[in-house]
């Protein structure tokens, strides 16, 4: 950047040199920090793979994934019950959570105004910050008796209240705030001309939201849902408190079950000292990581494609 005319004094050129040095150093520092973060991630993956190698060497992957016999003491590690439990809990909580989140986000972004909006939005934010264990306690005190004493008898089922459905209900409340925040953001980011022109054409407000805004905010809403899915998939503490912890294939949603993350929590305490079990549980961790990873990657690709082609 220094000019070549030779008019600048020696002092000025040293300032420039100093600034260039600082520039180079800071960019190197930033690159180092980024590399460090990536390196840590690679290290985590490497450790997980290394530690789960013993169990993979001992038993074929298909056996691990498709067998429903879980009995670490006998060397039987069938993850199917936990996988099925995870799918149940994630699926039901998303089925309840998505409509709830979309409707409240639409209300917050398009109907509520002024103070109401600020107040409600701050509530949602606080809800997102509440630790899972608090939801677990509430689940134990409120949702478990509700399911056991009212909901199950009303449907003619016997249940202690601890089970897959209870875990899904608690979890659906946990994932909603994230989805609401992101959906509100993407709705608010839409230009007002969009609303004005739709209304000017004679659309009703609801028609405008449904026909125009939701479509326009599509990629944002999709990523909100995917983020909620990620949360639900890995949720641990609240789920472990109310799911009833049984490692067998569940017959109904009122039965107790197990998810991949609760399996780790429930079994690591006493058995970490037995190498094969430790390896099996670390393999569960690896599975969680790989699933969430592929999901995020897929979501990113999908979103990129959508954003490129999206038109309102």
């Amino acid at each position: 950047m220094a000019s070549e005319t030779g008019t600048e004094s020696a002092g000025r050129s040293s300032t420039v040199r100093r600034r260039l040095l600082a520039e180079r150093l800071s960019s190197a520092g930033l690159a180092l920090a980024a590399l460090f973060a990536i390196g840590l991630f690679a290290l985590v993956v490497a450790i997980l793979v290394w530690e789960s190698a013993p169990i993979l060497a001992e038993q074929p992957l298909s056996e691990l994934l498709l067998s429903s016999n879980w009995n670490p003491a006998q060397g039987e590690f069938g993850f199917l019950p936990a996988i099925v439990g995870t799918l149940y809990v994630t699926g039901i909580s998303m089925a309840i959570g998505i409509p709830l989140a979309l409707l409240s986000a639409i209300y917050l972004a398009e109907y509520a105004d002024g103070r109401t909006q600020t107040l409600l939005a701050s509530f949602i934010d606080v809800l997102a910050a509440v630790p899972g264990v608090v939801f677990g306690l509430i689940g134990l005190i409120v949702v478990v008796p509700f399911v056991g004493d009212y909901l199950a008898p009303a449907l003619g089922v016997q249940s202690t209240g601890l089970g897959i459905l209870t875990a899904s209900l608690v979890l659906s409340i946990i994932v909603v705030p994230y989805m609401v925040s992101l959906t509100v953001e993407s709705l608010e980011a839409l230009p007002d001309e969009l609303r004005e022109s739709a209304l000017a054409l004679g659309m009703t407000k609801w028609g405008m939201i449904r026909g125009v805004l939701l479509r326009a905010a599509g990629p944002g809403i999709l990523s909100a849902i995917l983020l909620g899915f990620g949360r639900a998939f890995g949720a641990t503490m609240a789920v472990v408190m109310v799911i009833g912890g049984m490692t067998a294939l569940p017959d109904s949603v009122f039965e107790p079950g197990q998810t991949l993350s609760t399996l780790i929590v429930n079994d690591f305490g006493e058995l970490m000292s037995v190498p094969t079990t430790q390896s099996a549980l670390i393999f569960v961790g690896l599975m969680l990581l790989v699933i969430v990873w592929t999901f995020n990657l897929g979501a990113m690709l999908l979103r990129r494609r959508l954003e490129r082609r999206w038109q309102y």
């Binding site: 107790p256 429930n266 690591f268 305490g269």
Partner: protein, 326 residues
């Protein structure tokens, strides 16, 4: 942009305050550790013996004892990795663990008792007859599903609700052994629901009139008075299986009485079980002195805290094992 600078500034100063506070805290902590002149012993492991270890750590004056929980397996892996000096174990060491160099001595006994709700429809009948080991095995494996099938009482409609432990628990393991060699997983798969920890089982038993579970002594008898208090009631064992609870079998009135029955071996083992202290190969000098103290003077605190002291013979044997090393 103008509105951003005050907020980022305040955030920065807040961060700085937090950093400063934690630095001061850390300094204070290490100062505290340094101020204690004696050697320090690190202990981790089983949640079952944890409260007892805390009492011992307070009473022991020769060294500064730092106690952490984490579960038996955690304690074992800590001690084998030299992270701690002593591991607390709620069960005897596995063969695999001994092969890795674990050396353990017994420290005390602990036990669980079958529990039901105070409003249980057949509470009186159970208190009169007791339940035999076979009855309990049938209940926990769901061979019988109604109270009327195990006691003489009119309770056809009352279906038993069985609670087990979802976490890996030495108490649950021993309970399964007592019921006829059932593994933790077999028990788990028969239960109506499994919960995390002793506390949660007590909670479910308090909540359900037809619930059955099993709990540690301190969830049944009040920790201070030693009397039965609250909604959790013990299930007396019909030891000879004659269908009545004779005088020799009735020792559930107070905690004192019950713990003596365990100590004398009248209450069966399992579910009563020894708990262990373990080291990697051999105890350090300070740790050995502490364990020696636990096996002698330390035993006097055991019964007051709801555990069962080892008998003199067993104590003698453990002290010998400790002195000889592996």
């Amino acid at each position: 942009m103008a509105f951003r600078s005050p907020s980022s500034c305040s955030r920065r100063s807040a961060l700085r305050a937090v950093g400063l506070a934690s630095a001061v805290g850390l300094a204070g902590c290490s100062a505290f550790a340094d101020s204690n002149d004696g050697p320090s012993i690190r202990v981790s492991g089983g949640v079952g013996p944890l409260p007892m270890m805390q009492v011992w750590a307070d009473e022991y004056e020769e060294a500064n004892v730092q106690v952490a929980g984490g579960g038996t397996g955690r304690g074992v892996s800590d001690v084998l990795n030299d992270q701690v000096d002593i591991a607390m174990m709620g069960r005897e060491p596995d063969e695999e663990e001994v092969e890795q160099g674990l050396f353990a001595v017994a420290m005390l006994m602990d036990t669980v008792v079958g529990t039901i709700n105070e409003e249980n429809p057949v509470l009186d009948a159970i208190n009169e007859q007791g339940l035999s080991q076979e009855d309990l095995a049938a209940i926990f494996t769901r061979e019988v599903t109604h109270w009327s099938e195990v006691v003489d009482a009119d309770a056809e409609d009352d279906e038993i609700v069985v609670f087990g432990r979802s976490d890996s628990s030495a108490a649950y393991q021993k309970w399964g052994e007592f019921l006829g060699g059932l593994s933790e997983n077999e028990l788990e798969s028969h239960a109506d629901a499994n919960v995390n920890g002793d506390q949660d089982i007590a909670r479910q038993v308090r909540a359900g009139v037809n619930a059955i579970g099993f709990n540690n002594v301190n969830y049944i008898w009040d920790a201070n008075t030693g009397e039965i208090e609250g909604e959790v009631r013990p299930i007396p064992l019909d030891l000879d299986g004659d269908g009545t609870l004779s005088d020799e079998e009735a020792f559930y009135e107070t905690r004192e009485e019950f713990l003596i029955a365990v100590e004398e071996g009248i209450y069966p083992e399992p579910p009563a079980r020894q708990m262990f202290l373990a080291a990697n190969d051999e105890f350090t000098e300070e740790a050995e002195a502490f364990v020696e103290w636990i096996l002698s003077e330390g035993q006097q605190y055991v019964r007051d805290n709801g555990y069962v002291p080892l008998t003199d013979d067993v104590l003698e044997e453990q002290r010998r094992t400790l002195a000889e090393g592996r």
